[in-house]
């Protein structure tokens, strides 16, 4: 046994000799934790599609920012947060309306494409926006991600109780004096921040893999909210870590590996859940 595990440990250590791998691990950890937690509420509220649309709006923001010479992350954050607040203000009904969201989603991708058209010199930039490129994250970006995650986590912690009440029993919460609009706006703003972060890791098209997949998987296997939130964060972190290791050794794109592991986790959780049901 020892003979087979030893080289592997060396291999794993070898991975960390590279700056870009250390940065990548730091970035995915920071982002996956908060994405898992926020995603839990997103799934609970049935707003996953809204989350997806936000990331597409972020694409417009990022390409627009590059066009005027700003870092894409700024454009991402600005646009997603603005769109998140907009969706929240327009009300719960719109957020859950597939057609409206679908239109916003398509329109913003189209607009993003137009912006891309004007900076064709950086074709790789487009790919990394759409599919992420965590291996290119530098130390400066990590600190930005840490700051954004801290803001999102604190904000989520502060509003979590009324948000949960509203998500579980909207009418009753309204009657008990919880303003639905306010919390909807606040929550979608948080989602927007985290979406922008996730887009740095897996790109705007694959934000689901960190935000929705782990949360959905966690909700399959746990019935308690606290456990669900923690498990969701944990599942996201594991998907990101294992995905990175896989990417390092297989030389496949990191986003692809993270998405694959996330998908596998979801299937595993479904299997566990149905096994449990059979057992009862």
């Amino acid at each position: 046994m020892a003979r087979t595990t030893l080289p592997r440990i060396e291999l794993a250590c070898g991975m960390f000799e590279y700056d870009f791998m250390r940065n990548a691990f730091a970035a995915v950890t920071v982002v996956a934790i908060v994405a898992g937690m926020v995603g839990y509420f997103l799934v609970l509220r049935g707003q996953t599609f809204a989350g997806h649309a936000l990331s597409h709006v972020g694409f417009t923001g990022a390409t627009g920012a590059v066009l005027i010479g700003l870092p894409p992350l700024w454009g991402l954050v600005a646009m997603t947060v603005a769109a998140g607040i907009g969706m929240g203000v327009m009300g719960e009904r719109l957020v859950q309306r597939d057609v409206a969201i679908g239109l916003v989603l398509a329109f913003s991708l189209g607009l993003g494409l137009l912006f891309l058209h004007y900076f064709t010199t950086y074709a790789s930039q487009a790919t990394s926006l759409l599919f992420g490129n965590v291996l290119a994250v530098d130390t400066g970006t990590i600190w930005v991600l840490v700051a954004l995650s801290a803001v999102a986590t604190v904000a989520l912690a502060v509003i979590s109780r009324p948000l949960l009440f509203l998500s579980l029993q909207p009418e009753l919460a309204d009657a008990k004096g919880v303003p639905p609009r306010l919390y909807s706006v606040a929550f979608l703003a948080i989602v927007a921040l985290v979406t922008a972060e996730c887009a740095q890791i897996v790109g705007v098209l694959l934000v689901f893999s960190l935000m929705i997949g782990p949360a959905a998987a966690a909700q399959r296997v746990t019935r308690s909210i606290m456990m669900g939130v923690l498990l969701s964060a944990g599942t996201a972190v594991i998907a990101a870590w294992v995905g990175l290791v896989l990417a390092f050794y297989s030389d496949w794109p990191s986003s692809c590996c993270i998405v694959a592991i996330g998908g596998a986790e979801y299937l595993l959780c479904c299997a566990i859940a149905s096994r449990r049901e059979l057992a009862i």
Binding site: S160, R161, L164, L166, L168, E171, D174, A175, I225
Partner: protein
Amino acid sequence: MNAIEIRNLGLALGGRTILEGISLDIGSRDFVGVLGPNGAGKTTLMRAILGLVSPSLGSICVLGRPPKRGNSSIGYMPQARGTAVSIRLRGWDFVAGVVNGHRLGLPILGRTARREVDRALELVGARELAYRPLSELSGGERQRLLLAQTLIGRPTILLLDEPLISLDPRHQGEVVGLVKSLQHEIGATVLFSAHDLNPLLGAMNRVLYLGGGKAAIGTVDEVVTSPVLSRLYGSDIEVVRLRDRIFVLSGNFDIEHDAHRHDHGSNDAAAHRIGVRHV
């Protein structure tokens, strides 16, 4: 003191008048069945008592005070059940979400709050149910948990909006019985809206009929009569009593089931309904 006093109340939604000039008192231990066709204002009246809809006319007094949003002395079971019932969350967390739900912070409950949740679950006989996921509960079981939610904060008035909706007759009877015993236990005033008055006959001591913007309140014998209901609805209403059941018929359809009109004459319709109910 009366639990709820309503004077010359007018309620409007989006410019449409729902209720106009109604006055009534609801005593502190009353079990009031709130009846009337869809759109008669049952939900709107409850929302006005909760302070979510402001009167366009007149006044409401809840325990001697004007309605206030977030009034902890009212327990409310809304008709819209939210999407949460379809997820795999355990009932305990579902009920616990209501405790101090309006306050900022993490949803972590202290010992007192946890005991409050257990008490509410105990009162509705749902201690066992509370550990199963919501998505696996039957309609009647879910109704118990929704009732438990209304009990958080120890209210003295329960506003229950259509708790019997989509339940079969057996479960309807169970829910009514449960609410009745709850009322006895916590000494509450109950407003219970429904589409059919029969399941409530044994439980309610007063009935409130809404229709055509007006209201009629009193005992079943006082209100559920042809003259009173005909005046309320402005058309000929027939009240048929059959054994221990009452059928309210208007023209060729049963007014409490106006969603399912019959093409037969009134006698046929009545016979048809009775046939269905007594098989």
